[in-house]
């Protein structure tokens, strides 16, 4: 009997320790697992390394985790938003380390981590400041950079629907980093609007097969970050 459900976001993140590396899905607010992030704030783990495309909006979700001073480092492609000063403030005060990674390289490094590929070559960032300190190599007359995989202890992901085996489907562009982060983390935690029985998701349309998912938590009405920000909300 396989049943990957856990009772709620709190239980789902209860064993994330200080110093853990945590991948957090989402591109902007789409796919951002707000309830799992808030549970992680409640959990209190510190000195985390977070791998995520952005650094959040306002003072909820990822921005709230930053504001609560739980992060030692972010690995990120675009840590700037129109409506958040949390990351810029921390960064300018030297309170947080930033590893800036081109978005496609970030995605491919995560996918490589999940696929057991320790390193690969990419043309992105050749000749730019982000190539500094990286090995480069020419293949067929073109220069590429060597990039290492990214792996994590935990991944926090937002899906649309999962079955109890952990098979997941997503909603529209909220898919983004979810499927590859699920592959690259030791423990992948997915919040979904609904959990169904095995067989209720057509095997042809599964996006993340259950083998990549460890915990499923039902959050029937997840908050939208933009609505929270518009309402001036902050967490906790």
């Amino acid at each position: 009997m396989i049943d990957k459900r856990v009772k709620g976001p709190g239980e789902a993140v209860a064993d994330i320790p200080d110093g853990a590396t945590v991948m957090i899905g989402g591109f902007g607010e789409a796919g951002s697992p707000v309830e799992l992030i808030h549970a992680l704030i409640d959990r209190g783990a510190r000195d985390l390394t977070v791998i995520s495309n952005n650094t959040g909006s306002g003072e909820v979700g990822l921005a709230a985790l930053l504001k609560a001073d739980r992060l030692a480092k972010v690995v990120c492609s675009f840590p700037r938003t129109a409506n958040s000063t949390v990351f810029p403030d921390l960064y300018r005060r030297g309170k947080i380390e930033l590893e800036l990674v081109p978005q496609g390289t970030l995605a491919e490094r995560i996918r490589a981590g999940g696929a057991g590929i320790p390193a690969f070559y990419t043309p992105a960032a050749v000749g730019t400041p982000l190539a500094e300190g990286k090995e480069s190599r020419v293949f067929d007359g073109k220069e590429y950079l060597l990039e290492r995989w990214l792996r994590a202890d935990f991944a926090l992901i937002k899906g649309q629907c999962a079955d109890t085996h952990g098979n997941v489907v997503y909603n529209k562009t909220a898919r983004n980093f979810g499927p590859i982060m699920a592959m690259a983390a030791k423990v992948s935690i997915v919040q979904v609007r609904s959990v169904v029985s095995p067989g209720e998701i057509d095997p042809e349309v599964v996006v993340t097969p259950g083998i990549f998912v460890d915990r499923v938590v039902e959050v029937p009405n997840p908050a939208h970050e933009s609505e929270l920000v518009a309402a001036g909300a902050s967490y906790p």
């Binding site: 492609s77 496609g104 390289t105 990419t122 000749g127 529209k172 562009t173 499927p179």
Partner: protein
């Protein structure tokens, strides 16, 4: 030098001028800002398929007010729609499309374009700036053709088309063509070459506002 926005094409006209150069059936990624305008001016009878790197091919215009989904957004994080024939995919697949050379055209804004095709469009390099690169480096490294659409000079009148970029690079030798309010300019092995002048704009006028040698075709 005066603000060059006062003569030459308007932003819409620049976008329209670029749009006519995109072949029917192209797969296109449009950057944030002026590049987004291009989609409004695609000539009748042509179908372009828009890629947004956050996981959608077949992106359509903004939804009617109240009809959007906060989980259906573009790379600029604005709500969009999905047209018939669209497909969603994850980020690694999305950048496989980019890096693998499957996107025909990418249109970007620029801080500086050098006459060797170098692009700078992500950072002023100022110590206080929050560095943020997004997908620009992947786009310029992978997409078949990369066009820039930009004002010819900065707001303070400095040329954006230069001998050599002084800002940190986004990519090396990656730009094929530049559309400004004054001209359409190719980046050739011999440097900048005017393909077309905005009606009423003299070649000499453009040359004066360009920070690198400029040739006529």
């Amino acid at each position: 030098m005066t603000n060059t926005e006062e003569i030459g094409w308007s932003r819409d006209e620049m976008a329209r001028r670029l749009a006519v150069d995109i072949p029917d059936g192209s797969y296109v990624n449009l950057g944030i800002g002026i590049p987004e305008l291009v989609a409004r001016f695609v000539p009748e009878g042509r179908t372009l398929i828009y890629h947004t790197e956050n996981g959608l091919l077949g992106m359509g215009p903004s939804p009617e007010k109240g009809a959007g989904d906060p989980e259906l957004i573009n790379a600029g994080k604005r709500q969009v729609t999905a047209l018939a024939g669209a497909a969603y995919f994850h980020h690694a697949d999305s950048f496989a499309m980019i890096r693998g050379g499957h996107i025909d055209l990418c249109v970007l804004g620029a801080m500086q374009v050098a006459c060797n095709g170098d692009l700078a469009n992500w950072s002023t390099g100022e110590p206080d700036a929050i560095p943020a690169v997004g997908g620009a480096m992947d786009l310029v490294a992978g997409v078949k053709s990369v066009y820039v659409i930009t004002q010819h000079c900065t707001k303070t009148g400095e040329p954006k088309l230069v001998e050599r970029c002084t800002y940190p690079l986004t990519g090396r030798g990656v730009i094929n063509r530049v559309y400004t309010e004054l001209a359409v300019i190719d980046v050739t092995p011999a440097g900048f070459e005017v393909v077309e002048l905005c009606p009423g704009v003299e070649f000499e006028y453009v040359r004066e506002r360009t920070g690198a040698p400029l040739r006529r075709r």
